[in-house]
Every structure is written in C-alpha cells, then in structure tokens.
Symmetry: C2
Subunit: 183 residues, 2 copies
C-alpha cells in the first residue's frame, strides 16, 4: 500500500456512512481479519458525538505489526465514504497521498480528482439483492485496493461474522468488491 507508514507499518482506516449501513460491523470485521487471521495487532474505535443523533456512523481501525499506542485516527491512510455527509466531513482528514473510496451514486461531490468511485451500494443490490451487504462490498474494494489485510483473512473474517445462512451471500458481496477494485 503506497500510503503505508514505512517506519512502523501502522495503517489507519476510516469507514464512514449513515447509521444502518453497517460501517461499525465493517470495522469490526476488518480488525478481526488483521488480528485473528493475519496475526497483526488492531484497534477498532467508534466515536459517538452529537452527529450520532443525526444518524451518521463511523468506524476507525488502526492496524500494525507492533503495539498500537494511540488508537486515534487523525489523518487516515484510507477513507471509505458511503454518504455525501461522510465524504464532506472526513475527506480532508486523509494523509497526503491517502486513498479515498466513495460510493459513486451516493457521493456526488468529491474534493479531489483521484478518488476511486465505485457503485458500492448498487453492486451490493445487484450481487445479493440486499443493500445491507454494501458494507461487505466496501471491504472487498478496500482490501482489493490497499491489501491492508490479506484476501484470505478478510474472507475468513467476513464468514465468521456472517449471520447463519448468509455466508454465501456475503462471500459474493466481498468478491464483488474485489472485482470492482480491479477495474
């Protein structure tokens, strides 16, 4: 990942959207992929302030090979924004050269020319007929573009957190994200 901090291998990811889009669960899955299946350390944080009452939701994940002293994400290496509000609020808190991934249909105004635009929610609907899998499509796109965790680890972490009977649906959603990242 080009934006990775070479010195201590610390990577900071922010996942942001509206309540109900599953951003918190996505953060938990990403952290578990890193820690349980890739043998790294991970800290996953949700901060709730007044914006939580308005329905905004964000999760932050810090991944490193060594100990993680500070769990806060100040300038992220990568941001996934599934709503215009999330993009407006956090796009400026990316590191220089950081990666911005937006839902192409939900985020119309992007403050940079090199954002990666993926129709995340539409892909979820087309692939699984369930909008709720957008968070897993987003994880596939993020991992496909950054390799912040291994493909194997995110597959296992998604399967472990998928409600019974939804494993195949979530596997397909993740695959759709990987495919979108290649384009």
């Amino acid at each position: 990942m080009a934006t990775r901090d070479k010195k201590n291998d610390r990577v900071e990811i922010r996942l942001a959207g509206e309540g109900g889009q599953g951003m918190i669960l996505a953060g938990i899955i990403l952290a578990e992929a890193a820690a349980i299946y890739d043998n790294k350390n991970a800290v996953q944080t949700q901060s709730y302030g007044p914006e939580a009452r308005g329905g905004a939701s964000r999760a932050e994940v810090v991944i490193a090979n060594g100990e993680i002293d500070h769990p806060e994400v100040l300038l992220a290496d990568a941001l996934v924004a599934l709503s215009q509000e999330a993009c407006d609020k956090y796009a400026n808190n990316l590191k220089k050269g950081g990666l911005l991934i937006v839902d192409e249909e939900k985020v119309k105004r992007v403050p940079t020319t090199d954002a990666v635009r993926i129709p995340i929610t539409r892909l979820a609907l087309e692939t699984t007929e369930r909008i709720i899998t957008a968070n897993v499509v987003a994880l596939g796109a993020l991992v496909g573009l950054t390799h912040v965790v291994s493909k194997d680890a995110i597959q296992k972490a998604v399967a472990a957190r998928a409600p019974k009977g939804t494993e195949e649906m979530n596997r397909k959603a993740l695959e759709a994200g990987f495919e979108a990242a290649k384009r």
Copy 2:
C-alpha cells in the same frame, strides 16, 4: 455513581470475556445508549492483540458529557468479567473504589472481597433459554449498579440492536440484569 470522576464526568467501562459472549456488541449498545439516547459523548474501542487468537474479547467504553480527548481506558471505573481469564487480566486495572462485576459461576477466583457476584450466564439461560443474551443481562446489571446511562436509554439501545424477532427476549434479559442489581 461513586466512582465517577467529578471533574469532567468521564466514566470508563471495560467489558471482558471470551469470544462469542457478545462483549463487543455490549460495548456498542452501551455507547449508543449514552450517545444517542442520553445525549452524551461516547467512544467505544476494541483492542485485538495476540490474545484475540486465543478467543479473549474485550470492549471499552468511555462516556462523558464533554469532548473525549483520549479514548483509552487505563484504569476503569467498572469492569464486567464473564470469564476467569478476563478477571485475572483486568481486575487490577480498576480505579481505587472501582466496581468489579463477575459472572458468579464462571469466575471462581476474585482478587477482592467486594466484587459483585451475579450468575449472569445462568440468569440469561433461565430467563430467555439463550446463553447468547448473557451480554444483555450483564448490561442490565452494570446499569442497575452504576447508572452510567439511564434505564430508558439502555432499554432503547438494546431494542434498536436486537435482531428482528428477539426484542422481547432481549427486553427480559435486560430486566433480569436490573433485578439482579437490586439484590
């Protein structure tokens, strides 16, 4: 709450147990109760290190009226331990006068005489026939003993996170925790 920091009203809670006991979800529910329904600020954190590979799970929640600068819990105001390992590991990271709540049947060795022993998992099973509600019983006990969030807020937050069709079961589990706190 006797252990509350009077100056900035910051309260730090740690919930610890084994993977699968729902400690992370309990942390999310507690944070959402504080932020969405009690109009406070909350930060909820999971740290995963080598112990995650062994199946240990912990969630930390910081609640305050004002801004939360540091999301880390160093010395907790309250610890809920649903496994012996969790109690062994975190009981010494309680503030002086802090509250220790343990699952009476899972935690046999407690390093203090004034821990609150509640048969959390057994109450979950007796009340709902589902061990998985132990995390909600634990939240009821915690809130009943500390009032760290309002009863109304935790009821709403549990209902909002309960999977469809399990609202009543989770309501009863929470009530069982409240009742246990009175004894």
